[in-house]
């Protein structure tokens, strides 16, 4: 099985139903999606259409109610909790809208955190954290606490944290949602650089401008993929 024949991510007929007191919410209904290695995919759609749900399933934070999901050619349905944690740790990099840095840890420690769950040596961790921080231009703030940084800086640290582990795919849920346009642009620029460096990215965004950065835009509506288009820029 080589990467050229098998997509990195393959969803077939994935459904997600939430049950809350008496109400059934069909967040996803029969979603098909393939993402190839090295691709940059954006996901757009109206609020509540299931974008975040889709990303959670891709990142193994949640499981589909129905349907199949292959990650790197392997079905994830039967993985144990600990194997799922292991994949989240090594093969997925998360970037959240609200940064989700840990307030009590320094910038350095935040970036180091996923690496500590891997049992890497301290020297190896140092090397990777420093590289990641340098890449996002935050190396000089390594000793700061997140609360001492601006939103844009915090998101750059979050990006560093996501890439430090060299994951197969970066999952970003509205990474610019909490940022002003200048900072937003900077983060998008960063993602594009990462993509150019070979990273596979799947990004949820409301903003059609940012969707343009991606190779391919996937439109979700009411839990279904309604349209896929190659972006102009990529074409």
């Amino acid at each position: 099985m080589t990467q050229s024949t098998e997509p990195l991510i393959r969803l077939e007929g994935v459904t997600k139903v939430f049950y809350t007191d008496e109400v059934e919410t069909h967040a996803l209904s029969g979603t098909h999606l393939e993402i190839n290695s090295g691709e940059y995919v954006s996901i757009t759609g109206p609020s509540g259409c299931g974008k975040s749900t889709l990303l959670s399933i891709l990142g193994l934070l949640d499981s589909p109610s129905d349907g199949e999901y292959w990650l790197d050619g392997k079905p994830v349905a039967d993985l144990s909790l600990s194997e799922r944690a292991r994949i989240r740790n090594r093969e997925v990099g998360f970037i959240f809208q609200s940064f989700n840095l840990i307030g009590d840890l320094t910038v350095y420690e935040n970036v180091e955190l996923p690496l500590t769950y891997r049992g890497l040596s301290a020297a190896e961790r140092r090397k990777r954290v420093t590289a990641a921080l340098e890449r996002v231009g935050m190396a000089h703030r390594a000793k700061h606490l997140p609360s001492q940084l601006s939103g844009g800086q915090q998101q750059r640290v979050a990006v560093a944290r996501a890439v430090a582990g060299q994951p197969l795919i970066l999952l970003a849920d509205e990474p610019t949602g909490n940022l002003d346009s200048t900072n937003g642009e900077a983060v998008m620029e960063l993602l594009r650089e990462l993509h150019q460096g070979g990273a596979t990215i799947c990004m949820v965004t409301h903003d059609p401008r940012y969707a343009q950065y991606a190779d391919r835009a996937v439109h979700l509506f009411d839990g279904r993929v309604v349209k896929e288009e190659e972006s102009a820029e990529a074409a």
Binding site: G103, Y117, S147
Partner: protein, 808 residues
């Protein structure tokens, strides 16, 4: 009023809404208030409350003392002290004696106190019925009168209203009942009756060299100190010793406050318990504080919203106060129940030899004190969110939730947990050392076999010249008892280990004396022939006393190893002769054997006289035989449960002589258990306290960690999204809790190293810094802390990262 009801309703709703918090806080408060009140009530009654007598602080107790040893007071000395002193308002004498009640139903052995006529009046006790003794009653040749205890009056005479004026036959003498003393009058151990001492006409009333177990209490004149009284009595004794150089010699009066004397044996252990009470109270308060602080962090936002909606600060404070008070009242109510139940339970557990305990009831001031301390803690820490809300920027709080401002409180909570753990560790180590002491004590060899050994007392009343009758009775009784199935050996003795035995001064023939009245002391067992076998004491050399030792054969004596080592270190004692002091015609006794040493005075503590010897009852001279026969014990070795033969033994004795009651029927194991009962009691209490402390500390750690998990849910979600495994999350939470616990244990170990020294005098066979106890206790506490951390940590691993991240 409307607002108050609204506050109340809302407060109740808040408490019901978080049942975990409410239950834990109420338990902590209830244990703190209840357990503490119960034990403090007992401590207070025994140690802190003044004696239940009129003007107790001017009361002293005194006895005779020489540079060598303390003795009781001889009656002539008492009379001279009473008449010649200048510092006392009054002196009163008392001694124990026992009386055989006959002529009304079964014969019964009654315990009595012989007292001087002013005894009750001096202590301020009034008779329930009839009258007090008068000076007229307390004279040689006076009519015999008796005052009964309320207990005896009810038990034996069915509270007969016309008892006063009736005649009773006590030890073959007729006595007129003149009064009843109420049950709430207590002096030393309980007795059945009181008789005036001088009216007895006993020979010791005139013998200055005779110290018949008489003790003296005195009431100091106003403004007189104990030192002045000592000096005063010293000068009386100085005169007496010139007058009576032989009998008085270097004798003086030992004077001490009655209060000191009453509580001195238990003071140290009660103080330790008091400290334990304080610790538990502190732990309970720390717990409540911690819970409220944790909660206040949660409430912060609610309060900010209330304030933003226009609630005034007083309004918010009122609301919080209502809740705290509700909580305190709940805790206090349950605590009061625990206190009432606990005090009662403690009193039942209390061994009879702890003085004045029966006065203890739930102590209202104590209850009020613990209640106040706990409630104030609750109020103070309950108000923290209100105080903080008014200080911090409203807007910030609304926006940030708990972030930022919680750092200080975090630290306070950590410190409280550390303190709780440290305090519990100290208590646990104290309890551990007490347990180890108790265990060590039980390993102590008594020198005889206490299993399957029945003991009882017998007081044979006979007159002068009845020596042969006395010997016959004991010999016959022993033969009859021996025939009872299940009995292996029987002996009789004037004195048994743990139950008391007389001390005798003696001299070894041929040894030079520095002074004419120089003497040595040994415990004297006047015994029947089968004594050694009945008690299971090993024979080391020679032979023991046998039936062949009769009044007309050589007078023999058997010494113990201790006497042999002390006075015959490098020679064979067999064949040497011993001479008893004090009589004009000294008797010589030949040493025929050496036996093992036994513990006479208990498993621990001071041993007033170490050497011991045994002389045959059969060779006791007729003149002193009635006196010896008056205080005899029987020891019966049985095949099985000693208590199974009691009925048969008793009827055999009555068959030998229907007028001889036996009393104090106990197995030797029971006697030994009772001898360490007060140690067991303080151990039990301390263990109880340590248990409560451990529970509270566990609850404290659990509470803080459970709260931490709630507070860190979001962070845990992030970590799990980043790939943290279950064990990583466990490590995170357990690590945080254990850091506090380990610091607490370290602080506690240091504290214990310092504080345990104060307990050294309560310990037996274990050092105050026993490394094993310290290690075991530290491990135990760490394990409990680990468990207390593990439960919330376990819950943390169940956090759904998707959910946690979505609902920040």
């Amino acid at each position: 009023m409307g607002i108050f009801l609204q506050d109340l309703r809302y407060g109740l709703r808040m408490l019901v809404k978080s049942p975990g918090f409410t239950v834990v806080a109420v338990i902590a408060l209830a244990l703190g208030i209840g357990a503490n009140t119960a034990i403090f009530s007992v401590v207070n009654a025994v140690l802190l409350r003044p004696l239940p007598y009129k003007e107790p602080n001017s009361l002293v107790i005194l006895w005779d003392t020489t540079p060598k040893q303390d003795t009781s007071v001889s009656y002539p000395n008492f009379e001279d002290l009473r008449d010649q002193n200048r510092t006392f308002e009054q002196l009163a004498a008392f001694r124990r004696d026992s009386f055989n009640l006959t002529g009304v139903g079964e014969p019964e052995r009654l315990s009595g106190r012989m007292v001087s006529g002013n005894f009750f009046q001096m202590l301020g006790a009034r008779p329930l019925k009839g009258r007090d003794f008068t000076a007229e009653d307390d004279r040689v040749g006076a009519n015999h009168v008796v005052i009964l205890s309320e207990g005896l009056w009810q038990r034996r005479f069915g509270a007969d209203q016309s008892i006063v004026g009736k005649q009773l036959n006590l030890s073959n003498q007729s006595y007129t009942v003149v009064g009843i003393v109420p049950a709430n009058f207590r002096f030393g151990s309980d007795v059945d009756l009181f008789v005036p001492i001088a009216a007895s006409g006993a020979p010791y009333l005139k013998a200055r060299g005779w110290h018949p177990g008489l003790y003296v209490i005195g009431r100091l004149k106003p403004g007189v100190t104990i030192e002045q009284a000592r000096a005063d009595l010293d000068s009386v004794f100085a005169r007496l010793s010139q007058q009576f150089p032989n009998e008085v010699g270097e004798r003086k009066s030992h004077v001490e406050a009655l209060y000191e004397n009453t509580v001195q044996d238990v003071r140290r252990s009660l103080l330790v318990l008091l400290a334990a009470v304080g610790f538990v109270l502190l732990i309970a308060c720390a717990n409540v504080a911690n819970l409220l602080l944790a909660r206040s962090a949660v409430r912060q936002k609610e309060i900010a919203i209330r304030t933003a909606l226009g609630a005034s600060r007083t309004r918010v404070i009122r609301q919080l106060l209502t809740e705290s008070v509700l909580l305190s009242i709940l805790g206090g109510a349950i605590g009061t129940l625990i206190a009432m139940w606990g005090t009662e339970a403690l009193i039942k557990l209390v061994p009879s030899n702890i003085p004045r305990l029966l006065d203890a009831g739930i102590d209202l001031p104590v209850l009020a004190f613990t209640f106040t301390v706990s409630v104030l803690t609750g109020l103070f820490f309950g108000l923290v969110p209100a105080l903080q809300a008014s200080r911090t920027d409203l807007n910030e709080t609304l926006k940030e939730g708990e972030r930022g401002s919680s750092v200080g409180r975090h630290r306070v909570r950590g410190a409280l947990v550390i303190a709780e753990v440290a305090l519990s560790l100290v208590l646990l180590i104290g309890a551990g050392l007490m347990i180890k002491s108790f265990w060590r004590l039980q390993q102590v060899s008594t020198g005889f076999d206490s299993h399957n050994l029945l003991t009882m007392s017998l007081s044979y009343t006979a007159g002068q010249g009845e020596g042969q009758k006395i010997r016959n009775f004991f010999q016959q009784a022993a033969e009859r008892i021996k025939a009872v199935p299940g009995v292996e050996a029987v002996t009789y003795s004037g004195g048994l280990p743990f139950l008391g035995a007389p001390e005798q001064s003696f001299w070894i023939e041929g040894r030079p004396r520095s002074k004419p009245n120089d003497f040595l002391m040994a415990v004297n067992y006047t015994v029947g022939p089968d004594y050694l076998r009945a008690l299971g004491i090993p024979l080391k050399r020679g032979r023991f006393i046998s039936e062949q030792d009769r009044p007309d054969t050589t007078h023999v004596i058997v010494i113990d190893e201790s006497l042999a080592q002390k006075y015959f270190p490098n020679e064979d004692p067999i064949g040497k002769r011993i001479q008893f002091d004090g009589s004009d015609h000294p008797i010589f006794l030949e040493i025929v054997g050496v036996v093992g040493h036994v513990k006479q005075y208990g498993l621990e503590g001071e041993v007033p006289v170490d050497p011991q010897f045994y002389i045959p009852f059969s060779q006791t001279p007729d003149e002193i035989l009635p006196n010896v026969a008056h205080g005899m014990s029987l020891a019966i070795r049985t095949q099985n449960d000693p208590l199974s033969v009691v009925g048969a033994v008793r009827s055999q004795i009555l068959a030998a002589d229907p007028n001889q009651p036996v009393f104090n029927i106990k197995t030797m194991d029971e006697v030994i258990t009772q001898s360490i009962a007060s140690r067991r009691f303080s151990m039990l209490l301390l263990v109880l306290f340590a248990g409560v402390a451990l529970l509270l500390a566990a609850v404290g750690i659990y509470g803080v960690m459970a709260y931490t998990v709630t507070q860190r849910t979001h962070e845990i979600g992030i970590r799990m999204a980043l790939g943290a495994q279950t064990r990583d999350v466990l490590k995170l939470i357990v690590g945080q809790g254990m850091l506090l616990a380990v610091v607490g244990v370290a602080v506690g170990l240091v504290g214990a190293l310092i504080l345990m020294r104060l307990m050294a005098s309560l310990l037996f066979g274990v050092s105050a810094t026993d490394p094993l106890t310290f290690a075991v206790v530290a491990t135990l506490l760490t394990a409990v802390a680990l468990a207390a951390c593990y439960i919330p940590a376990r819950r943390a691993t169940k956090v759904d990262p998707n959910f946690a991240l979505r609902y920040e």
